[in-house]
Symmetry: C2
Subunit: 269 residues, 2 copies
């Protein structure tokens, strides 16, 4: 039998590919991975009703710590693991695939759009992006800032940076973790505003990003309520991008002609 | 009316999303862009029979020089422009979108998987890729080598490089171009072998890539006949990856644990 990782694309059921839908319809067990990405335009109930089968939610513990149980199940049955975006954008799913293949379980991967390529909708050219960065939600006494150095490095090479903003779904507090209590915090999604505030907090120390730094904030890309706004970091910080998911591009210092036109197009008049 | 750019994904009709299929079915005019990417698993006839409508092929001249005609048509009718992969991975389509929006034509973009994110199937982590490079087919007296410098730069930052290999479809010879004759050369697709030979030709002068440089050759990604092989540049040069499309990853000098395991997994025993 087969473990099929199915990319759901940008977040609504209509973004599933025909190949993906067929794999889901043929599957005996359907898991929806809910901690590296989330569906933005579709609830679990809508997904279940669309597929016509029950869907089990799979959090970090299920996919990472209990991966063996998934593999065991995939020996006997066709298991589909649904992932918003493209299934192999997260390390954890690459790990799962490899473990499955080593365990002799047949693996199939059905690709789909993800923010990594759909960010082209901002008009910034995909071949001008440097290393992608993830910006983690700062905690008290935990403010890792390697994302900042990577952005600065990309800018020095005149490249754009795609910033993926943190998602915290089904996370436990330190106290609940220590006490081994399965009590989960409410989901948190980093907004463009918080991302910029954290960036400015690091900038106060490192002073490498000029105030003229240009960026593009993106929310709910691919959905009908998508919002794309271009501006300086300061301009974007004060905007409300609304519901998750958000992401952001820090622009290369020099834009090509078409990029410059796009930047103007997405700037607030 | 609307100009909808529909990403077809990795190359077979089953890779279309439900949203994309609906847009195609609703369109009055369907164009298939054939010069920045190509369908690998589906012929034009299969696509037409699947959609149940005629599909017009659109080459560079149609999409770039005669873009106004497309926009004119999109004022009166729903026009779908189908693009293999994701529609905004190529500059030319970003340009078309912008022109349409400026001309007051409504634009919709339906994203899909492309090599930019599906390259995660090699097990190399997407967040460890630097700038993407395009390797052009060398001609007599035309051997542009900026791709080489970018690869070296990525390697120095310990990042992978995705190499997109040249496609020449519906190109005219200089003679036919000068004489304004619409006679087209047969399509040419760069193979992994030719890409490596060109890289080595540049390396003979610049000597920046050590012989131990590791790479992963990829062919027909996402299709049933997909081929992924890892090895040194020399090992891969002597392999036949078969039919197009090919692409390649030049690996970062140090791989993470899972990447190292994937590299071994895809190495020929």
């Amino acid at each position: 039998m087969t473990l099929t990782l199915v990319g759901l694309g940008l977040g609504a059921v209509q973004d599933i590919t025909l190949r993906g839908l067929k794999a889901i319809q043929n599957a005996d067990v359907i898991l929806l991975e809910i901690y590296t990405s989330v569906l933005i335009d579709t609830s679990l109930e809508e997904l279940e009703s669309f597929i016509g089968k029950p869907v089990r939610q799979a959090d970090r513990i299920t996919v990472e710590e209990r991966a063996d149980e998934i593999l065991e199940e995939a020996r006997e049955k066709d298991v589909a693991l649904l992932v918003a975006g493209d299934p192999l954008s997260a390390t954890t799913h690459c790990d799962l695939c490899l473990r499955a293949e080593k365990a002799g379980v047949k693996v199939d991967v059905i690709h789909n759009a993800s923010i990594i390529n759909a960010i082209g909708r901002t008009g910034m050219q995909l071949y001008r992006f440097g290393e992608v960065v993830s910006i983690p939600l700062f905690e008290k006494n935990w403010t890792p800032d390697s994302f900042y150095d990577k952005i600065v490095k990309n800018m020095k090479s005149n490249l754009h940076t795609l910033c993926l903003l943190d998602i915290k779904v089904r996370e436990r507090s330190i106290e609940n973790l220590m006490a081994n209590r399965m009590i989960f915090e409410p989901p948190r999604f980093m907004s463009v505003k918080v991302a910029i505030e954290q960036m400015q907090q690091v900038n106060d120390l490192k002073q490498q990003l000029p105030p003229t730094t240009r960026a593009i904030g993106v929310a709910r890309l691919g959905s009908k309520t998508a919002k794309i706004v271009a501006g300086t970091l300061e301009q974007l910080r004060d905007l409300d991008f609304g519901e998750p998911l958000h992401s952001m591009v820090i622009c290369a210092p020099q834009l090509h002609d078409i990029e410059e036109e796009y930047f103007a197009h997405y700037s607030q008049k």
